[in-house]
């Protein structure tokens, strides 16, 4: 297990290093190491490394780790491998609010905040609908999440249709496609407290998640306060998902698939599964973002689109290959 984690850390570091080298402007390894070693030197290279690529890499790592962590938490809580981070309505709620804000002409710097609040609001609404007694009913949560997400998606579609100019429509579509273009240290600093809060709550959830693997009833009999665990996991996953949506828009695939990959690699023990998800999610998102910047440079591909085109077939191959090998 130690070796596997060492391997994952090496992959994360390698992905970060490769991401620093890749982009619209070609930089050599020497340029990058020089800029990293002397952060206070001026010059274009330092500006590219410190003001453009490094914050973006950190954001990609944060988004990837958060979504993967969020997926693992929800899949573990609901014992359903088809659940993804957006089940709680966070992304659809954010997208609907942002679409309305764009249409209403709200200034661009305010839209992420609006998206964050709306995302958490949507998650609260879903949780309220899924509430049964003092806990959460898994089936109701899935039904409420899917239903409200569909409703919010309709709001977004309506907003695009009603957009009076192509600029508005493009802004909304760009958000839906997922991208980290134009994000910087300020955005990361704004989201960091919420990501940290979500991550701390996920640490608390490790032991309950392990016990929940044998079912709700058995978890209760061994002393898990299942109702409290569900609320904490939901709060953690909502904070992580909402922060990711604010930082990068809708980035699919990672939250659904990375927990599967991690389970194949390290098993379902939450003590190792959650950190493995964070590492794999971070590495995958950094690599995908680098490819998005590089493949059609100086333009950029939306990361959500790239992940769907490459990631899903790759995962299906790995999954089916693994099934046959069993």
């Amino acid at each position: 297990m130690t070796w596997r984690f060492a391997g994952l850390i090496v992959i994360v570091v390698a992905a970060a290093g490769a991401s620093l080298l890749v982009g619209g402007t070609s930089l050599s390894l020497r340029d990058v190491t020089g800029a990293l070693a002397h952060p206070h030197f001026g010059g274009a290279v330092n500006a590219i490394v410190w003001q453009l690529r490094l914050p973006r890499i950190c954001i990609a790592a944060t988004v990837g780790a958060s979504l993967a962590l969020c997926g693992a938490l929800l899949q573990g809580m609901l014992r359903n491998p088809l659940v993804d981070p957006y089940l709680t309505g966070v992304s659809a709620g954010s997208a609907a609010a942002i679409a309305i804000a764009v249409l209403a002409g709200v200034a661009a710097p305010f839209t992420p905040g609006i998206g964050f609040v709306a995302g958490l609001g949507a998650a609260l609404l879903v949780a309220a609908l899924a509430r049964r007694g003092s806990g959460i009913d898994a089936n109701r949560l899935i039904l409420a999440g899917v239903s409200l997400s569909t409703l919010f998606a309709a709001v977004v579609t309506l907003a695009i249709v009603r957009a009076q100019s192509n600029d508005y429509a493009s802004a909304i579509v760009a958000w839906l496609a997922g991208s980290m273009a134009g994000r910087g240290w300020h955005d990361l600093a704004t989201a960091a407290p919420y990501v940290a809060a979500g991550a701390v709550l996920s640490v608390w959830a490790v032991s309950p998640l392990n016990a929940l693997r044998v079912g709700d009833v058995r978890a209760r009999t061994v002393g898990v306060d299942v109702d409290r665990a569900q609320w904490i996991i939901l709060a953690s996953s909502s904070l992580l998902a909402a922060s990711s949506v604010v930082l990068a828009g809708m980035v699919g695939f990672i939250g659904l698939i990375v927990p599967h990959i991690a389970r194949r690699l390290v098993g379902s023990d939450a003590r190792v599964l959650l950190p493995a998800c964070a590492f794999i999610g971070a590495a995958l998102c950094m690599i995908a973002d680098a490819v998005c910047r590089w493949v059609v440079a100086p333009a950029e591909l939306p990361i959500g689109v790239l992940l769907a085109f490459i990631g899903v077939p790759a995962f299906l191959y790995l999954y089916l290959h693994g099934e046959r090998a069993r």
Partner: protein
């Protein structure tokens, strides 16, 4: 010690059982029996603190189970159910280790020496130490049942509750499980289980709790229960009784109505078993 004080058991507003009073002592194996839907499992869940009684109170070692914090309850009562859940690639030892949850604080993620000892002892007790590293999904029904019991044992509680521990098991495995419960009781645990077979209960339990007619019909020694007309009242079928060569009674439901019904006590009124019943060769 488990005490039921005037307990009413209801589910979805429908009262199943009323005014139950009983005491189950440490070192005792108690079997709860009755017709389907009479409230056996609901009563067991109420004792486990998973279902609030509609009235009265249930005390475990003097504490009202409904007032105990979930962790405190888990240190006193283990509840073994055979409902299967989808376990993704969990090894037997990992499943049993979950029983150690109440012995940890939330930040204590790793097993201590005491946990290892308890897990090993639980695996040994149910005879599955040899496949501790096997995947749960590769086990047979009987082996899985042993794993669930081991999980309950790893919890190291003075009270062990089991809901139908022998359902879906073949005769041999069922008797091995019941023998194990007998041993656990003789080691000092309060063992209370829901069973369906009166004769299995009579063979292994110290007392039989018979539920029927919306109440506790009796909580008595097996022979006294089987000799009475209470099994007929509990199940609503005629019964035949056979006294074994060791003088113990066994009952069998009849399909021919109640013409051969033998109610009441007294050993001499029951037919002696044939040689074949005793497993002896005919002469």
């Amino acid at each position: 010690m488990i005490e039921l004080r005037g307990v009413d058991v209801a589910i979805a507003g429908r009262t199943l059982l009323e005014s139950l009073d009983a005491r189950f002592a440490p070192g005792e194996l108690v079997a709860i029996l009755g017709r389907n839907g009479v409230g056996k499992t609901t009563l067991l869940r109420a004792i486990a603190g998973l279902h609030a009684p509609a009235g009265g109170s249930i005390h475990v070692d003097g504490a009202d189970v409904t007032r105990l914090a979930v962790m405190q309850r888990a240190l006193r009562v283990a509840f073994v159910t055979s409902d299967d859940v989808l376990l993704d690639a969990l090894r037997v030892r990992d499943v049993v280790a979950i029983g150690r949850f109440p012995h940890h604080r939330w930040w204590q993620w790793h097993e201590q020496a005491a946990d290892d000892t308890a897990i090993d002892r639980a695996l040994d007790a149910v005879g599955i130490a040899a496949f501790a590293q096997r995947l749960f999904s590769t086990l047979s029904s009987g082996e899985r049942q042993r794993v669930w019991i081991a999980l309950g044992l790893a919890q190291a509680t003075p009270v062990l509750l089991l809901d139908e521990p022998t359902s879906h098991l073949d005769l041999r495995v069922a008797h091995e499980i019941l023998g194990l419960l007998r041993t656990l009781a003789s080691e000092g645990k309060s063992v209370v289980c829901v069973l369906h077979d009166l004769n299995d209960a009579a063979a292994y339990a110290d007392r039989i709790v018979l539920l029927g007619e919306g109440r506790l019909l009796c909580a008595d020694a097996p022979d006294a229960v089987l000799a009475s007309d209470l099994p007929e009242r509990a199940y609503g079928v005629a019964m035949e009784r056979v006294r074994l060569h060791d003088a113990r009674l066994r009952v069998f439901g009849t399909t021919s109505g109640s013409k051969r019904l033998n109610a009441g006590g007294g050993g001499g009124r029951y037919p002696e078993p044939s040689r074949a019943d005793r497993g002896e060769a005919p002469q």
